[in-house]
Structure formats: structure tokens, C-alpha cells
């Protein structure tokens, strides 16, 4: 092993000044650029108030919304009248449909003699809770107002719920009887006395009560959650999956198993005498009021059509214009500059501006989106095409010209074979990428599935519909990606990836 003496080292250093005496910028550029990015990130932290926004964000809601993508809630509600009569109801648009009797909600019913104030009297003044009991006890001789109230009340025998037992999962049950609620969750038991809203013992971690005597909120994780109030216990049980994906609750096929539906379609009697069961089932699927399959598919097709027509027209217009813009093909400075500046203008006026502009002009719908894509992409494709034309090999043109071909024939046989695969490949690439961007310009009103997505998200309650549409969009994008890549690699003769 040889060792270098200082003189040899100096000699080497002198021979390679580029390595040993690099400028300040060369030595520290990575550090400077990285430092610049870090400083800029800090500035953005302040500019967007990121710390504040993240701190005040409601992350529990985020979890619920995410769970809504792939699951749904059923909301049984037990209302407890002051006299102890209970009633079990579901909201109007329950996924179970009207008159549902799920097996995880057990109820015991019984008859009860109730005295209820008349509708008119109930409206004029809300009676205190004890008044009903006084009335049944026959408290005559009270104040005149009380006597009037009793006179206005009617007594009847009614069938009411005596006890409701709601099972959320193997370890979680909510048992409601008049006066108290017993909740069991993962081995712990909570008993709530409804008359003064107090719990026996301390509250388990999954139950919270913000103010003494106020409502108690129960959180059971993914299984669901619930709220206990003095006159009302509402439970939400969460189920994995999409509810009523094929048939909505108004459909005669709702709630039937696959084999039942199939046998109805195959050999059942006509449910609607006007049409066969098959076409009825298909109609019910298409016009499903929750999932709106037909509308979603139409909007998705609009998005696809927008991208297809927009890109195709852009290619057809950009093609001749690119020949005018290419310096080596059209030898006129004015026509080169005019077309190039036109391309720049079309490209730089953003797709958003064109989309808003055409939405105002044509009304909301795919025509606006199509025109927006057409205008923007004429600029982009024109620029790319003219650059490709300026980079062609001139020998082929010269060869064709030298045998006395007409100008058109020179372009056709001297230029086109060189650039055509590239042109088609670029058009395909833009077709594919426009399929993606057409979604978002749709959201400003330019047609397609974007607006439908945006409307579904605005209510914050239809996240499962959003998930459905996103899934469809992803499938379309991946399929088109595949088609476009396959075509492009055939055109270019090598894998495009």
C-alpha cells in the first residue's frame, strides 16, 4: 500500500481543481435548497394557520364519516311518555323500511290504561309530567284550570311497549324499561335512573355525561353509539356493508333473499300486472331512490364522453394548426407566431376558466365540460405537436421532395410517418388524463359525475354514495389507463411505462 506525501496530495489537488475547489454554491446548494424548503414550509404553517386548523378539527367526525363509506346505521328509538308508556320507532327513511321488526330488537308489549290530554289542550299548554297521573287518580276539586284539563283529557286502553332490549353485538345490550335503562358493554354494566338522569355508581369510560342531569352519550366503537335522555333513548347500531344497494325500501323485492328474488323473477306471479317481474326488478334497481344507479351511470358516461369528445376534437384541430406553427414546415414568421401564441393562450387560460365560461353559456351539462377540455387541450396538444414537428428528421422530407412530389405529398410521406405514432400516443395520454380531470371540472357545473359527487358530499350524510361513485371512477380510470397504455405501447413499439 502506497502512502501519499503532502506534496503528492497537493499535486493531485492542483490537477483536479473542479473537485477540490468547488464554488460556494456547488458545495452548499443541496443544503441551501433544503433549507429554503424548510423555511418555506414554516412560512406555510403560519400562512395557512395549520396548527390552529388541525387543533380545532373534529377528528371524531372524520372517523364517523369514514365508517359511513362502508357501513350504515339503523336507529331504533324508544320514546318514553311521562306516564311510563314506551314506543319504539324508526326514522322515516330507515334502511330497514317501514314496519321493520329486526331480531336484534326484542320488545315486550302489554296494554295500559292511559289518559291523554286532547290534541287541542295539549297544544295550548304543555302539561307538567305529574298531571297525567293526577288525572287517572281522579283528583277532583283542584284549581279550575286542572279541572278543565281533566275534562279535556280522554282515557283509553292502548297497547304499549313495556320493555325493549336492543342487542348491538355479543357483549353490548341496552335494556329499556320505564324509569330505567340498563346498558351492558364489554363486561361492564351501567344502570341509569331516568327520573333524575343519574347513573348507579361511576360512569364507565364508554359513557359520558356533560352536565349532571343531562343526557348520557354511549360510545361502543364500530358497533354503534347511543344517547339516553329522560324521555328518549336512541340507539344507532352500525352494520358493515351498503344498505339496500339493489332494491330500496319501496320495492316489492326489498328484504327478500337472493333466491327468493330469483324465483320471483323466474317463475313468480306478476307483482305488477303491466310488466314482467324481470323488468320490474330492473326498473327498481335503476330507479333505486337511495343509490340512483341510472343517474350515477348516466353522469359517469357523461364524464367519459366529455373526455373522449373533447380530446378527439382537440386532436383534430391541433393537427393542422401544428403544421402552421412549426418553423420548419411553414416558413412564415407571422403564421408561426400567431398559431403558437394562440396555443399559449388556450393553454394558459385555465381549464377552470373555460369550464365556468361554457357552463354560463351552454347551461350545466357535458357540453360545457367538453368545450372546456377541447379548448385547453387544443392548446396543449398543439404545442406538443408543433414541437414534435420541429424536431423531425429532415432527410425524409428532402428525399420525397427531390423526386418532385407535391407539397401535400411531401407532408404525407415525408413528415407524417415520423410523427403519427407520437401524435396518437400523446392524444391517448391526454384522453386518459382528461378522464380524471373531467371529474373535477364537473364539480363546478360542467357536467358529469363531479357535480353529483359534490352534492352527495355536501350533506355529509351520503358518504356511502360517495364511496360508490369513487369506486366506479377508479374502475373507469384503471380500465382506461390500461387501454391507453396498451395502445400506446403498440404505437410506439415499446412499453410506455
Amino acid at each position: 500500500m502506497t502512502t501519499l506525501n503532502p506534496a503528492q496530495m497537493d499535486e493531485i489537488a492542483a490537477r483536479h481543481p473542479a473537485v477540490f475547489h468547488r464554488s460556494f454554491w456547488q458545495r452548499f446548494r443541496v443544503a441551501i435548497i433544503t433549507g429554503g424548503f424548510v423555511l418555506y414550509a414554516l412560512y406555510c404553517w403560519w400562512f395557512f394557520a395549520i396548527g390552529h386548523v388541525l387543533g380545532t378539527a373534529n377528528w371524531n367526525i372524520a372517523g364517523t364519516y369514514l365508517a359511513d363509506w362502508v357501513s350504515y346505521e339503523v336507529r331504533p328509538q324508544v320514546s318514553i311518555a311521562p306516564d311510563g308508556a314506551m314506543k319504539l320507532t324508526y326514522p322515516r327513511f330507515s334502511p330497514l323500511g317501514p314496519n321493520a321488526e329486526p331480531d336484534w330488537v326484542e320488545i315486550e308489549t302489554g296494554t295500559m290504561t292511559r289518559t291523554l290530554p286532547n290534541a287541542g289542550a295539549a297544544n295550548s299548554a304543555r302539561k307538567p309530567a305529574a298531571m297525567g297521573f293526577m288525572g287517572t287518580g281522579g283528583a277532583v276539586g283542584g284549581s279550575a284550570a286542572a279541572a278543565e284539563a281533566v275534562a279535556a283529557a280522554t282515557t283509553s286502553e292502548e297497547e304499549v311497549v313495556k320493555r325493549a332490549r336492543i342487542t348491538l353485538n355479543a357483549s353490548t345490550t341496552v335494556d329499556v324499561v320505564p324509569g330505567s335503562v340498563t346498558v351492558q358493554h364489554s363486561g361492564e354494566t351501567l344502570v341509569v335512573n331516568l327520573s333524575d338522569m343519574t347513573a348507579e355508581g361511576t360512569l364507565p369510560v364508554w359513557a359520558t355525561q356533560k352536565a349532571p342531569g343531562g343526557k348520557i352519550t354511549l360510545a361502543f366503537g364500530f358497533a354503534g353509539w347511543g344517547e339516553i335522555e329522560a324521555d328518549d333513548v336512541s340507539i344507532r347500531r352500525r352494520f358493515l356493508g351498503w344498505a339496500n344497494f339493489l332494491f330500496d325500501t319501496n320495492s316489492p323485492f326489498h328484504g327478500k333473499s337472493t333466491s327468493e328474488v330469483l324465483s320471483l323473477i323466474w317463475s313468480g306471479e306478476r307483482i305488477d300486472p303491466k310488466q314482467s317481474n324481470l323488468s320490474l326488478a330492473w326498473d327498481n334497481i335503476l330507479y333505486n331512490s337511495e343509490w340512483q344507479h341510472l343517474d350515477v351511470w348516466t353522469k359517469l358516461l357523461q364524464t367519459i364522453v366529455m373526455a373522449f369528445v373533447g380530446t378527439l376534437f382537440a386532436m383534430l384541430l391541433a393537427f393542422p394548426l401544428a403544421f402552421l406553427a412549426a418553423r420548419n414546415i411553414t416558413r412564415s414568421w407571422i403564421s408561426n407566431q400567431l398559431t403558437k401564441r394562440l396555443f399559449d393562450f388556450l393553454r394558459s387560460v385555465d381549464m377552470l376558466i373555460w369550464a365556468l365560461f361554457f357552463t354560463r353559456a351552454f347551461g350545466p351539462g357535458p357540453l360545457a365540460g367538453m368545450s372546456a377540455i377541447f379548448f385547453t387541450d387544443t392548446g396543449t396538444l398543439g404545442k406538443l405537436y408543433s414541437e414534435a414537428l420541429e424536431n423531425i428528421d429532415d432527410k425524409q422530407r428532402e428525399g420525397v421532395k427531390s423526386v418532385g412530389a407535391s407539397p401535400m405529398a411531401v407532408q404525407r410521406y415525408g413528415v407524417l410517418p415520423q410523427v403519427m405514432p407520437l401524435f396518437a400516443s400523446q392524444a391517448l395520454y391526454f384522453w386518459e388524463s382528461n378522464t380524471r380531470s373531467a371529474t373535477i371540472i364537473g364539480a363546478v357545473g360542467a357536467g358529469g359525475i363531479g357535480l353529483k359527487l359534490w352534492e352527495a358530499m355536501r350533506t355529509n350524510s351520503d358518504w356511502e354514495n360517495v364511496a360508490y361513485m369513487v369506486l366506479l371512477i377508479l374502475i373507469v380510470v384503471f380500465v382506461f389507463d390500461g387501454i391507453s397504455n396498451a395502445l400506446r405501447s403498440r404505437l410506439m413499439g415499446k412499453p410506455a411505462h
Partner: protein, 320 residues
């Protein structure tokens, strides 16, 4: 028989070749014609479908189109600049159409930033910040997706699919979701654009890495360097210029993307543009369009200049 006359001047083998060529070109013509016919049918069908499902039919709406263009002409040319710089308008009648000075953002007693410049800065910041975030994560992910650095098919496939999903996931949904969680403001737009950028840059990056020269990496492997050291000293120096070039290219795209996201509720200049076009405020709209046009051209030119310096002319190949 007409074909045979063509072959007169050929030898027997020449005639065979000629016949083959004729057959091939005839078949090719049939395929081209068939392809064009399919394209034509698809186009006609698409146009019909688009016209049917549009709110207004194309030919019915065409006259209104020119009305609308007429509406977009301001009262006088200077109005556009008054709107742009928040100067008081002589036509001010208290309506939102002419209330330019109300958008002023005062820094000191008398010095103010015009509203549109402030919002444009917000949009630019959304674009730049999310491109940086996208680059950081794309940089971290891309080496795991490159065939020449990761032998494990499973890991590589997983990272690639992950990036594909990030790229294909509609930005508008990301923006909408984070708007619901984070409430109004530019941050949802930043997150939406960033997530998309991670996927897009990650893909471009790993393709660059796969095309990198492996000699440096082999040398480091020979002296026993770890995977991280091999990547950091063997691969990163040669791919960095290309990465920066793609970063700039993405920045151009993201300026546009953040304008659009702004229009669907993400703040910035896009939102103002949507409102002013919707309400028919001619001067305001033109001012915003002018500002956007100048900004986009400036960003494009700057990025093109820097990319040319970084990697030379081949930065201008079609970016895929």
C-alpha cells in the same frame, strides 16, 4: 387482372413480394377504415348523448352564448384595472358589482394588498406547498417501487398500487372530505392536491430511478454499504436533477389544479372567479382572468427556464 399488369416488369420472386405487399396494404386499409368508422360512430353517439343530457341544447343555447360574451364586456377598459388593484370605481352604486375597494387587505394604515393578489398568492402557496409535500413523500416512496433497488415483488407491487390509487382518487372527494372535517379554508385543498401529487410524482420518480446507472450502486455494494447508503450515495446524486425537473413540471400542473380546487370550495382565487362569473361581474371576472393568465404564463416560463438549466432539452419530452 388489373393487378397482374402491375407485375409485368418483375421477376417471379419480385412479383410474389409485390403481391404480398399489395395484400398487406389492402388489409391495412380495411383496418384503418374500420377503426375510423368505429371512431366516427362513437363520436356521433357521444355527441348525441352529450346534447341530450345537457341542460340546454347546443343550438338553442348558441344565441345566449353570444349574449353572455356581450355581458362580459366592462363599462370601460380602465374598470378591469380598477377591479384588479381595488381602486374606487366611478360607477359605484353600492352593489357588489363595483365595490372594488372593499376587498383591500391593509398591512399598514395606508398600504394594502389588493384582494385578488392576496388570493392569487394563496392559490400559489397551495400549489407550491402541496408540490413540496408531494415531492417529499414521493421521494421516500419511489425507491421502494423501483425494480433495480427492491427485489421483493410484493413490497414493490404494493407501493406501486398504493401510488396508483393516490393518483386516481378524485381530488374533489379528498377536498370535500377534508372540508367536512377541517371546516372551510385552504388546508383541505392543500391536502387534496398533496395526496394526488404524491402518487403522480412517485410514479415519475421511480421510473427515473429504474433508468439510473447502476455502476455507482454496484461499487458501493462491493465495499459493503447498506441499502440506505447505496441509495443515498449511489442513486440520489444522479436522479436529483430529473427529480427537480419533474417537481417543477408538477408545480405548473398544481397551480392549475389548486385554482380548480379553489372553485369547488378550497378558497383562493378559483372561488372568487366562480362567484364573479356566476353573478356576471364583467370587470371583476376579466381582472381575475388577466391575473391568472399572467401568473400561469410566468410560472410556466420560469419553470421551463429552470428545467432547461437543470436537465437540458430532454426535459421537454412528453411527461407521462
Amino acid at each position: 387482372m388489373a393487378m397482374n399488369t402491375l407485375h409485368d416488369g418483375f421477376s417471379e420472386k419480385g412479383a410474389l413480394i409485390e403481391r404480398h405487399w399489395q395484400e398487406l396494404s389492402a388489409r391495412r386499409r380495411v383496418y384503418t377504415g374500420l377503426g375510423l368508422a368505429i371512431l366516427f360512430v362513437a363520436l356521433t353517439g357521444s355527441l348525441w348523448f352529450a346534447n341530450e343530457t345537457n341542460a340546454g341544447k347546443f343550438f338553442d343555447r348558441l344565441p345566449y352564448f353570444f349574449d353572455f360574451v356581450g355581458e362580459m364586456v366592462p363599462r370601460d377598459g380602465m374598470e378591469v384595472f380598477r377591479a384588479l388593484f381595488d381602486l374606487p370605481s366611478p360607477y359605484d352604486d353600492g352593489s357588489f358589482k363595483y365595490n372594488y375597494p372593499e376587498g383591500r387587505l391593509y398591512i399598514t394604515e395606508s398600504l394594502y394588498v389588493p384582494e385578488y393578489f392576496h388570493k392569487m398568492l394563496e392559490t400559489l402557496n397551495i400549489a407550491l406547498f402541496s408540490t413540496i409535500i408531494g415531492m417529499v413523500f414521493g421521494f421516500l416512496l419511489c425507491f421502494l417501487a423501483a425494480k433495480n433497488l427492491v427485489a421483493n415483488r410484493l413490497l414493490r407491487g404494493f407501493v406501486r398500487r398504493f401510488m396508483e390509487i393516490l393518483r386516481a382518487f378524485p381530488e374533489v372527494v379528498l377536498a370535500g372530505f377534508f372540508l367536512a372535517v377541517l371546516s372551510l379554508g385552504p388546508l383541505p385543498a392543500v391536502i387534496a392536491v398533496s395526496i394526488h401529487t404524491v402518487g403522480a410524482l412517485g410514479k415519475l420518480f421511480f421510473e427515473v430511478v429504474e433508468n439510473a446507472d447502476m455502476k455507482a450502486e454496484e461499487g458501493l455494494r462491493a465495499v459493503g454499504a447498506s441499502w440506505v447508503e447505496r441509495v443515498w450515495f449511489g442513486i440520489v446524486p444522479q436522479v436529483l436533477p430529473n427529480f427537480m425537473s419533474y417537481f417543477l413540471l408538477r408545480l405548473e400542473i398544481n397551480v392549475r389544479a389548486s385554482t380548480i380546487i379553489g372553485a369547488v370550495g378550497g378558497g383562493g382565487i378559483g372561488e372568487l372567479l366562480r362567484l364573479s362569473i356566476g353573478q356576471g361581474h364583467a370587470a371583476k371576472t376579466l381582472a381575475i382572468v388577466l391575473l391568472l393568465l399572467v401568473t400561469i404564463i410566468a410560472v410556466d416560463q420560469f419553470s421551463a427556464w429552470l428545467r432547461r438549466k437543470l436537465v437540458g432539452d430532454h426535459a421537454f419530452r412528453l411527461a407521462q
